[in-house]
Amino acid sequence: MSIVNDSVLFLVLRRMRTPLIVMILIYAVSIFGLVLVPGIDANGAATAPMTFFDAFYFISYTATTIGFGEIPNAFSYAQRFWVTVCIYLTVIGWSYSILSILNLLKDEGLQRALARSRFNRKVKNLTEPFCIICGLGETGSLISKTLDQVQMRFVVLDVRAEPLQELELGDYQADVPALHADAQIPETLLIAGLKHARCKAVLAVTNSDEANLAIAMTVRLLNPGIPIIARAEHAATASNMASFGTNFVVDPYTLYARRLALAMRSPPSYQLVEWLTRVPGTPLPELHEPPTGKWIICGYGHFGRAIVQRLDNMGLHDNVRIIDPRPTSPDDHISIVSAGTEANPLIDAGIKDAVGLVAASDNDINNLSIAITARELNPDLFIVMRQSSSGNSALFETFDANLTMVTTQTVAHACLSYLTTPMLSRFIREVEKQSAEWATNLLESLAPACSGLVPYVWTTRINRIKTPALNHALQNLASPIPLSVMMTSNRNRDNPLKLMPLMLERAGQLILCPASDLPLHSGDKIIWAGSREAWNEQKLTGSYANALSYIITGHAETGSWLGKYLNS
């Protein structure tokens, strides 16, 4: 029995102590009284009192209100007096005990102990790989919904009860073990399966940097082998996390600034990255072309700083104007001390001839106010807005800025692409090096595989476990097998699947957009984008020899492995 189950049992026993002692005392007093009081026989003569056995028998059926009138002798008046007392005593005793049990069931402590033990059991019984999501805020729930869609299992922890109740009502395919507990406490993480053999990763995505740091630290110490993905909003937290080996620190502001710089340099590359990192199955984002020229940054916090740094790197140093209410802006930029919500500071910063504006303060309403004023002054302005709370979505959608950076979504997308396709971040780094023409071409060839929706992105490893049939064929067939085998339907080999290979990794070397006639090798890692159906069909081809041989040879081999073995 585990610690958790034990604690439920002990809690119940401890709470039942008083009712049990009351019952024992009532029985003892009643029985002892009956043993002392003399009885009466049919002639009215006094007889000896009941024996202990008779008294116990009588009290047993009276106390439970069964009222079994079996002892034949009529009672003496003295006995009747005492039995009256006994009846009331025992009824009170039982009522008290039953009420105590009912109260115990409603008890919050017991409920919590039961929930913990249920959760612990569910986690222990997980047989598939899973990850632990700490914090079910906007980021956490977006991540969990998407992981559920791509059929990855996960366990959820949150300090608040409401998001977990919503999780119960949510439409999830898999059963999601969830616990209302503080993930900063090491024991909570252990119950959630930190040392479980199937635990694949821990995501620290609570709203508090402090909590994320504590979780990352706990995981690093208790189970050093497990990857940690942690959200950090402050630069100090991010570097602290990186210092003790957090595998993937998601700093949404730096990440977004980097993407924005990419969008300025090569809009198609930015669009490509967006296509590959958004939640699969949602509508494709449109092309944005942030102009290069004079930019105004309102709010010089972590986000503002990250953007200014990127713009500087792009050689736009002299074209950057900073507006911030705190006089902390660097001297080497032209800056104005103001919130930027009124027209004058914006005009002073040169809004009339600016090409873009970033509303980067940490207050959503101020950002909206800045953006509305700026657009009135210069309707052609390219506006980038930061949105901190998804509660304000209606306002931001109505305003319709050119780009909106939703902190929670940025974090979720980054976590998801790291979790589902770890190779994707390498691909994105490669994309950043390529030209705009290259990205345009790739987008054009990717578009038919998407049919207007964000594609699924996945990695295939050619090895004995993931693609047994293909691996076997590669080792035994004399002729090389081209990549196109994995891009063909196994129902009709004339039909290509709706997918495309983005990158192939072979012995540390990367091949971008591999050609379909490239011969496959055992040990290759390929990253794909395409539809869900194509993904499933490709999985079948890789693991089912008959499907594979149909694609290679053109005629369908039938029969099971056993049948073939018996025939040969």
């Binding site: 102590r17 049990l20 002692i21 024992i24 003892a28 056995f53």
Partner: protein
């Protein structure tokens, strides 16, 4: 001073003393072993057992185990007594008395272990 500890110690010691009171005397002579004392020993032992519920320490578990043993032995003694007198109609012959008293002797041993545990626990406590 903790009142809960006083009650706990009181019942454990009382269970042992009542048990001893019933047990002492020539094993085969029914007049030396009064039924009231057996009754009192059973009741106090049951209460002592209940008081030991819900302690998850190692020593608490052994405490509970010894009490359960004592309960079992004493209830067996009472059932033997009742069965001999009411069902078999033998009355308290020396043989029956001997078996009842020896059963209670087993319970006494368990109760002594319980008292030793209590003393050990007290001595282990640092001021």
């Amino acid at each position: 001073m903790n009142l809960e500890k006083v009650v706990f110690g009181f019942f454990i010691v009382l269970a042992a003393t009542l048990n001893f009171g019933f047990f002492i005397g020539d094993i085969a002579r029914p007049e030396l072993h009064h039924i009231y004392e057996l009754f009192a020993a059973i009741v106090v032992n049951l209460i002592a057992t209940t008081l030991k519920f819900g302690d998850r320490t190692q020593i608490g578990a052994i405490h509970l185990a010894t009490s359960l043993v004592a309960d079992l032995q004493l209830i067996a003694a009472a059932v033997t007594w009742g069965f001999a007198v009411h069902v078999l109609g033998l009355g308290m012959t020396p043989e029956i008395t001997a078996s009842v008293v020896s059963l209670s002797g087993g319970a006494l041993f368990a109760n002594v272990v319980s008292v030793i545990l209590l003393i050990a626990e007290t001595l282990m406590m640092r001021r």
